[in-house]
Structure formats: structure tokens, C-alpha cells
Symmetry: C2
Subunit: 198 residues, 2 copies
């Protein structure tokens, strides 16, 4: 985790994020290689093979160290690279907010894909991510972005400073649904065969 402490959250500051590739010249990103996503893709054999063949960078994003207060806002970009593990598209780990009742806003700069969301009661929502469109991720929904295209899926996110990230629930249970490439070459949402109640 690269947390940055040089910002003045009390008096304001300026920070660059490219609308093309999503990267910042001013700060380092947090990178997630495929090997850091063990058990998150359905096809374990394809996963092991891809890790052995070079362990690709699946996504990166920014953690700026916003104050963990309800009045502050965390923000940054997320870049999910194109690729698949078996027939499952590259995606972020996804997480609930620790403060469950907090929303998140994503503005997509480029690329195409989906925001896959589910709440603790099992309601699932799948919303397209497309350039120059916002996805509103409501309170109480775990969220994961999935790149179903050929170029990086680049978006800009904002959420409450104290929201926090609960990755453990998703890492343990998985998501109820997966987005995979169907036999016609187009994305389709299916049940996750490895999902289980804890």
C-alpha cells in the first residue's frame, strides 16, 4: 500500500490524474498483480498458468491517505487492464465499505466494462461502465469493476474518508456472480460456482 502524507487536507491541494491512462505524475499507485488475487477467479488452473507465465498486472489505483473522517473525501483513479483468466475478465478484488452505509461515485474516462455490486442481503446490480458516464454505487453494496474491453478501463472515484475497505468478506465468500465471456464472445453474468455462505 502506498499511502501519501504530503497533502494538506485541511487547506486544500492540487493533484494530477491523466484522463487518458489514469496515472498521476505526483503520486505512486497501488498495484495488484494477478498472484495477489488467489481464489478470486473461478478457473484455478488458468489462474496458476497465468501467474506462472508472468503474473500480469491486473489493476492499479490510488490511495492518498485521506483523513478517516466522515467530512473528508478519498479520491483517485482506478485502472483495470484488459485480459482474462480462463473466460473470466480481469477485475478488481472488490470490497464492501467498512462503514457499510456509504456510497461511491465513479466517473469513467475510457474503456468499457461493468460495475458488479451486491449487498449483504444478496441483491445483485450490474451497471455498465462507459466513457463519460458516472456509475453511482449505492450505500451497502460491495463493488468490483470488470474490464470487458480491449483497452484499460480508467475511472475516477470519490468516497467518504472514513468509509474504509472491507476486502475480507469478498475474499472469503466470493461474489455471488461472475462476468465471463460467453460463447458468442460477449460478456455474460453467471452464478459463481465457488460462492458460499460463511
Amino acid at each position: 500500500m502506498d499511502v501519501h502524507t504530503q497533502f494538506d487536507w485541511q487547506k486544500g491541494f492540487l493533484l494530477d490524474f491523466s484522463a487518458k491512462d489514469g496515472l498521476s505524475k505526483g503520486v505512486h499507485s497501488t498495484k495488484r498483480a494477478l498472484s495477489q488475487m488467489k481464489n478470486m477467479y473461478a478457473d484455478a488452473e488458468a489462474f496458476d498458468k497465468a501467474v506462472a507465465a508472468g503474473d500480469p498486472l491486473v489493476y492499479e489505483f490510488y490511495e492518498l491517505g485521506a483523513p478517516e473522517s466522515a467530512g473528508d473525501l478519498a479520491f483517485g483513479t482506478s485502472i483495470v487492464y484488459p485480459g482474462k483468466v480462463g473466460d473470466e475478465y480481469f477485475m478488481t478484488k472488490g470490497h464492501f465499505h467498512t462503514v457499510l452505509e456509504t456510497a461511491e461515485v465513479y466517473y469513467t474516462f475510457s474503456g468499457e466494462g461493468f460495475m458488479l455490486m451486491e449487498n449483504p442481503e444478496g441483491d445483485v446490480q450490474l451497471i455498465s461502465m462507459m466513457p463519460e458516464n458516472v456509475v453511482y454505487v449505492p450505500k451497502r453494496y460491495a463493488h468490483r469493476s470488470i474490464n470487458t474491453g480491449k483497452v484499460p478501463l480508467v475511472s475516477f472515484f470519490t468516497f467518504r474518508g472514513d468509509a474504509g475497505h472491507n476486502y475480507a468478506t469478498i475474499e472469503t465468500k466470493g461474489y455471488r456472480k461472475l462476468v465471463v465471456e460467453g460463447s458468442d464472445g460477449r460478456p455474460v453474468m453467471i452464478d459463481n460456482p465457488r460462492w458460499h455462505e460463511i
Copy 2:
């Protein structure tokens, strides 16, 4: 005020905002003509003349009717058009948040200008707005965006759903500082001759 109620803030939704002109095809903007900003520009004569000569559109922005809850987020674009009243650049009214301890994030798509901010104790911060850069507007600071360029200043903002807008303080007292075109043709920040404690 155009408040939109067609969105599902509980289950999420998708909404377009052009990264070029900032406009949405899906919703109507709220428009501010110069005549709606009486007493906000220092040069009253130039103001009256510009209103009489056609009352230009100074800025527009989006109000989507986000739930007024601390867990939701309001978002949209702001478009400040280029122009001047006397030597003072076109700008937004500016406001404190009603819930003073809430921040705001602005990502600038295009144009150039400044975010002028002041807190109740009188501290003033001036941060550049430039394409592909975020301005972090901290808690407790009134904020106004000012277009010092030749093209629209287009940005995307996010803030807490319950933050609210307190325009009255600024409408009554004004800002402590103004940004005007200096004798060398470049923007300069000066004291507001009409500012007064209430």
C-alpha cells in the same frame, strides 16, 4: 432549480456527463445568468451594463437530488463560461456547505482558472484549476470557481449528500478576495473593497 428524482440512489444508476462541454444528455442543468448574481461583482456599473446588454449565462451545474444523508454523495459537473464584469472574471456564486465540516472534490476536464476558498476565520486559499487535475476543497471552506481563460471551465464535483449549500453568508458578506485581470493581462487576487463583516 432543476432537481431530478428519476434516479435510484438505493440500487445505483448510470448517468452521462460530457468530458468536453460538461453537459449531460440525461438531465437538465441549473443555469445562472449574470442578473442572478447582483452585488457579487465589484464593478456595479459594468454589471448593470452587461445585464442590459443581454444578461449572459455565467455558469451552469447539475443538481441531481441526491438523498440528504451522510452516506450518499451528490455529484455533477460545473461549467463556468469565459467572460468578465469590468476586470473581474466570470465565477460561480460560491457557498459554504451547510454542514460546514464537509469537503468537496473537483476534477477539471478543461479550461483554466482558480478555486477561491475561505473559511469562517478568514483564511483564504487560492488553488489553480487546470485540466486533468483535482482540487481538494477542504472542510469548512467556502468555495467559488473562477474562469480566467478563454474557453469554458468544466469540472466534475462530488460532495456528501447532506452537505447542503449555504449561499446566504457569501451573498451578504461577499468574499474577502477577488480575482481580477491585472494591468499585465494576467489574473491577480486583490482585496474585495465591498467585503464586510456582518
